[in-house]
């Protein structure tokens, strides 16, 4: 491929036109992502507006009864929101200690050969589809829990929370580990030189220094947990239930949306529109969390990049 010269001015203009065209096409590809976001917001808002013409926002956001598929219809979304939060809290209670512990071990203690095995296994754990976790919850976790926990429903928030927690452990582990690895080794040497043990270096210097990244991982994991669908559909049930008792059957925001889709809901009906209102709430909650999470991530990358 020789230099691009040699065809005279006309050739050069044609080349520039071609270059601009290509640049335009590539930009269009990049713009697809913007169109996607606009599409999501537009679609959610459009149908939600129609929904909120029939149901007041106040009733939606503060009502405690959710029975859109029964008569009489009530559209208080709090039971769904509570269900999502309950599952997310249980998931966080599992995933945060396990994920952080894994990150500390992998980053500060694991011999490199062991690490070479453990990391891919955690990645595989992250790649297992949600339905499979739902299956696992139904066939393994719930039966075992029923032996241990008295009064546990067949469908319950605890099983769902546990498998969702396992699902997001790799997310916390890998982000936290990245953050810890980014801590410069000079800080570790400084701590050793003062007479620290290995664990003290890990806990008193590295972990606090990596805190932004670690917090980011928690936030993003909780956001993931709130957005989880199939595992909670299978494990937690389809019963809107405003409760903090994890042994009970509940329904999350995501499960409700699936429930409506599985049925024959006519377009334009209020049940159909309720999908979008619930979806809008789900989108808003996870968006806010993701923005926070990404902001924390940016902070730690700036500290050590």
């Amino acid at each position: 491929m020789g230099p691009a010269g040699g065809r005279g001015l006309r050739g050069a203009r044609a080349r520039t036109a071609k270059e601009s065209a290509i640049g335009g096409v590539l930009f269009a590809a990049g713009a697809v992502s913007i169109l996607t976001t606009i599409g999501i917001i537009a679609v959610l808002v459009w149908e939600s507006v129609a929904f909120f013409r029939r149901v007041s926002i106040a009733e939606f956001l503060t009502g405690t009864v959710w029975t859109p598929l029964f008569v009489p219809q009530h559209f208080g979304v709090l039971p769904l929101l509570a269900g999502s939060i309950l599952v997310a809290v249980v998931a966080a209670a599992i995933a945060i200690p396990l994920g952080l512990g894994s990150a500390v071990y992998l980053s500060e203690f694991a011999p490199s050969r062991l690490r070479a095995w453990l990391k891919p296994i955690l990645e595989i754990l992250a790649g297992v589809p949600s339905v499979v976790y739902g299956y696992f919850a139904l066939t393994f976790v719930t039966p075992i829990l029923q032996e241990i926990v008295p009064g546990l429903d067949m469908f319950n928030a605890l099983s769902a929370g546990i498998v969702v927690g396992i699902m997001v452990v790799p997310l916390i582990a890998s982000l936290s580990e990245d953050a810890m690895n980014a801590v410069p080794s000079e800080l570790r040497y400084g701590a050793y030189a003062l007479g620290s043990t290995k664990f003290e270096v890990a806990s008193r210097v590295v972990t606090p220094a990596a805190l932004s990244g670690i917090v980011a991982s928690f936030i993003l994991a909780i956001s993931r947990a709130i957005g989880e669908t199939m595992a909670v559909v299978l494990a937690a049930g389809m019963t809107p239930n405003l409760t903090f008792d994890v042994r009970e059957s509940i329904q999350t925001l995501t499960a409700y949306i699936v429930q409506v889709s599985l049925g024959d809901t006519p377009f334009g009906s209020i049940e159909y529109q309720s999908i979008f209102a619930v979806g809008l709430l789900l989108f808003a909650v996870t968006l806010v969390m993701n923005i926070f999470g990404l902001w924390f991530l940016k902070r730690y990358r700036e500290e050590y990049a």
């Binding site: 040497y189 050793y192 030189a193 003062l194 620290s196 606090p208």
Partner: protein
């Protein structure tokens, strides 16, 4: 045979006996025997790669942290071999402190940086006093006493290095190892560090690695000249720089190479 004219007359803070250091197959320190007298400043000089930092790290067992490093021979502190089986390196590092080339304060407050060491051993009730004393010894107290809670990263380079010195002093070591402590600093900050070393040597034994020969001449009582892992000459600083015994030393200090 190296020319060694420094003897501690039985009052050595540190002593090496035929110390070798291997990084894998490469030999970085080839059999060094020397004494570090108490309450003196000893400078280790030599061209890049001669092993002065490696030797320094032998004194507080920091080479342990490098997996491929292997240390043989004896390093005696108060007569006890640091590398004996029953010795705990963490305990060694409590008594022999280190300051690094690039200031490495923790991303914590000034107070928490200095308090880090003492806090490892429990919750001392006089922590405030310990912190103040260490900062005064490091000639930093007046500049930071009103902002102990501020982040250490907000200090200038020279201040950060003095903070690292205060941090090391807070655990009351007997020996202070300094690995090119001023090489990352501007001349004014460097002068402050050198002045500090003159004050500290009253209470501590100091071993300093430096590539700046004028600094070694200004600051140290004794100077050891190393070349590719061997000790070539070790004598009173004045002698090393004005009338060295070895031709090799003379070539280096007069700038004929290095």
């Amino acid at each position: 045979m190296p020319t060694i004219r420094v003897s501690a007359d039985g009052d050595a803070a540190l002593e090496t006996r035929d110390v070798h250091v291997h990084y894998g197959d490469a030999e970085a320190i080839k059999g060094i025997t020397m004494e570090i007298p108490r309450n003196r400043v000893v400078a280790l000089i030599g061209p890049s790669g001669c092993g002065k930092s490696t030797l320094l790290r032998c004194f507080n067992r920091m080479n342990d942290l490098v997996p491929i490093a292997k240390v043989t021979g004896e390093v005696l502190f108060r007569g006890e071999n640091l590398y004996a089986d029953h010795v705990d390196p963490v305990e060694v590092r409590r008594r022999i402190g280190m300051v690094f080339q690039k200031p490495n304060p923790f991303p914590k407050s000034i107070y928490d940086n200095v308090a880090f060491g003492p806090r490892l051993y429990g919750r001392p009730s006089d922590l405030d006093d310990i912190v103040e004393r260490a900062l005064q010894q490091a000639a930093l107290w007046d500049e930071v006493k009103d902002r102990l809670g501020h982040s250490a990263l907000g200090l200038s380079g020279g201040q950060q290095q003095r903070l690292c010195i205060a941090r090391a002093l807070a655990v009351t070591p007997e020996v202070l190892l300094m690995d090119e402590p001023a090489s990352a600093l501007d001349p004014i900050a460097t002068a402050k560090i050198e002045e500090l070393i003159q004050q500290l040597v009253e209470h501590y034994t100091i071993v300093i690695v430096t590539h700046n020969m004028q600094q070694a001449a200004r600051v140290s009582h004794y100077t050891a000249y190393l070349y590719i892992g061997e000790l070539i000459e070790y004598d009173v600083t004045d002698t090393i720089f004005t009338a060295p015994n070895e031709k090799h030393t003379e070539d280096y200090v007069t700038g004929r190479f290095g």
